[in-house]
Symmetry: C2
C-alpha cells in the first residue's frame, strides 16, 4: 500500500456505510472484524503476493514464497493483537507449473501454518492460460486475543511510539523469512494498554503516517533512536532504509508513557521493543536528526501502485 | 478444479490432520468451516480469477469481471446452503491500471455485494512489476443458515439427483452475469433435507463425480432429463456442453425420493429444479442416452491445470 493507495482505500471505504453492529472494523485497518452470534467475532485479512513484485521465485525458491505468503497475513493478525485461526490459499500458477513445484510451495505454507498454529483449511488452484507469473493470495481468519483488536486510529497526543525488532534492509533476506510478531503482540496487550498498532509493511514513514492520519494526530521520530538493522547498515543510506525500505513486518505501536514504563519493565521477550518518538498535536510528522535539526518526515514508503 | 486437481486436493487434505472440533469442515468442500466460541461457526471460501482464463477483460469489461469474482464465491456459499456474511477482495493489477479502471472493477464487486447482502469489508491492491494480467481473488465468509452446511460427502444410494436452472453454454455470456443460487439454496434446506450439494463450476460430469467419490457411491444420469440451456442448444453438441462445459454455477444436489417429493410439491421459486438421475451403489457414473443405451459417464469437465 502506498500513499496513492491510501487515497483509493479511503475512497473505497466511503462507498458503503458498514453497520458497526455487523462490521465493527471495516476497510482501512490491518484486518476487518465481523460480528457473529453471542458476542463472538472473527477478523479477516487478505494479501496478494506477486512474482517479481513481492518475491522473485527464481532466487527465493518456492518454499520461501509459500512461507512469506502466510507470514504476511500472520503479521496482520499480529498487527491487531489477534489470535490466528485458519488460512485459505489461492494460487494462480504459470503454465507448466508441476505437481512437485506445487508441493514445494505448499511445504512453505505448512511451515508457517504449523509454527503459528494457523491451519490451512482450503484454497483454490488456477492456472494462467498464456504467459503469467505466480500469484499467491492468502486470506486468514483470527479472533480477538482477550482484548479488543488494536486499531490504527487510537493514537493519542503524548503517546510514546515504539517498534519491535529492527528496521531496514529487509529486501536482502528478511522479507522472505521474517517472524511475524504474533506472540509478541499478544504478550504486549496482556501487559499494557496499547492505543494504536499496525505492522510495518511499507516502511516506517508511510505506516506511521497512516496511524497519524487515522488518529488525527502528528508525530516526531528521533533518528538516533531508530533500531537500524545490520542489513540496513550495509545500505548506502541506512537511515533511509530504516524509514522507507519497507517489508520490515515489525510492529509499530503507541501507548501512554505510563503504560510504556510498565511494558518496558515487564518485557522479558528476546524480541526488543524500542521507543522511537512521540505522538504530537501538530498536523504532520517530523524527524529529529543527529545534528540537532528537525526535518519534516514525509511518507516515502514503497509505492506499489505507481511503479 | 479438474480431476488432476482433485488428486492434488486429496493430497493436500492428507498433509495435516485437522481437529474436527476446531475445523468441522476442511479441505475438499466448497467452503471450510471454523468453529468459534459458544457453538457458533464461520465458513470461508477463496477464488482466484485470472484474465485470459476465467474472463477476458477486453471483451467482458471490468464491471462484469468484478461481479463475476464476487458471484463465484457467493455460489460457494449457496453450494453449502449458508448465508454470506462479508467479502475481502485482493487484486493484482497490470501496469498502468488506472484509478478509473479500479473503480469500474469495484462497481461490479459492489453490485454483487449489494444484491446478495455481503458487504466488502477489506482487501489488498498490488501491481505487477513487469508484464502481468489482472488477477482478482475474492475470499468470502458465511454462516450456517439454521441447518448444518450441506456437504459433498452425504449422498446415499437411492437418492434423487437434481440441479437448479439450466446447464451448458455458459461461456457465451452466463459465466459473467449468472445469479448465484444463494436464496434458492436457503429456501431448499428450509423445505427439505438435502444429503449432498455443490455448485457446478467445472461441468456436471466432473462435479457429480466429486459428490460420488466423496460419498462412496455411483450414479446414473438420464440424458433426456437434463435441462439444457438455450445457449447450449446453439453448441455443436448440446449434451456435451450441458455435461462438460462448466461455469454453470447452478446447484447440484441429492436427497431422498421422499424429500424430493416434498420439495417438488412446495417449490414455488421461479428458478426451476430438475430431477436428472439417481445415486446408485455401482462404483462409477453412467448416462442413459435417448436411444436406450447406457454409457459410462466420465468426468470431462474443464481442465484448469493441464491446459
Amino acid at each position: 500500500m502506498s500513499p496513492r493507495e491510501d487515497d483509493i482505500t479511503g475512497w473505497l471505504g466511503q462507498q458503503r456505510q458498514l453497520s458497526p453492529a455487523e462490521i465493527p472494523i471495516g476497510i482501512g485497518d490491518d484486518m476487518a472484524q465481523i460480528a457473529l452470534a453471542q458476542g463472538s467475532s472473527v477478523l479477516i485479512t487478505t494479501d496478494m503476493l506477486l512474482d517479481g513484485a513481492h518475491f522473485d521465485v527464481k532466487t527465493a525458491g518456492l518454499k520461501r514464497v509459500g512461507y512469506k505468503s502466510m507470514a504476511a497475513s500472520l503479521s496482520d493478525c499480529a498487527a491487531m493483537a489477534t489470535i490466528p485461526l485458519a488460512a485459505v490459499v489461492a494460487v494462480g500458477l504459470p503454465r507448466g507449473f508441476s505437481e512437485g513445484e506445487l508441493k514445494e510451495l505448499h511445504s512453505g505454507v505448512i511451515t508457517a501454518a504449523d509454527r503459528y498454529d494457523c491451519p490451512l483449511v482450503g484454497g483454490d488452484i488456477t492456472s494462467w492460460k498464456g504467459a503469467g507469473r505466480l500469484a499467491v493470495c492468502v486470506s486468514m481468519l483470527s479472533k480477538p486475543g482477550g482484548k479488543p483488536p488494536v486499531r490504527r486510529n487510537g493514537a493519542r497526543v503524548g503517546d510514546v511510539i515504539c517498534v519491535t525488532g529492527s528496521l531496514g534492509g529487509s529486501g536482502l533476506r528478511k522479507h522472505l523469512d521474517f517472524e511475524p510478531r504474533v506472540k509478541e503482540a499478544l504478550k504486549m496487550v496482556r501487559i499494557a494498554d496499547l492505543h494504536a498498532m499496525m505492522d510495518i509493511s511499507d516502511g516506517l514513514s508511510t505506516d506511521l503516517n497512516r496511524i497519524c492520519t487515522q488518529s488525527g494526530v502528528g508525530a516526531w521520530v528521533e533518528a538516533s533512536a531508530l533500531p537500524i538493522s545490520e542489513d540496513a547498515k550495509g545500505r548506502a543510506d541506512p537511515l533511509d532504509a530504516a524509514l522507507n525500505e519497507g517489508e520490515d513486518f515489525e510492529l509499530l505501536f503507541t501507548l501512554s508513557p505510563d503504560q510504556w514504563g510498565k511494558l518496558r519493565r515487564l518485557w522479558s521477550d528476546p524480541t526488543p521493543i524500542t521507543e522511537i518518538g512521540r505522538i504530537t498535536e501538530i498536523g504532520h510528522m517530523e524527524i529529529r536528526l543527529p545534528d540537532g535539526t528537525v526535518a519534516p518526515l514525509e511518507p516515502g514508503g514503497y509505492e506499489h501502485l505507481m511503479s
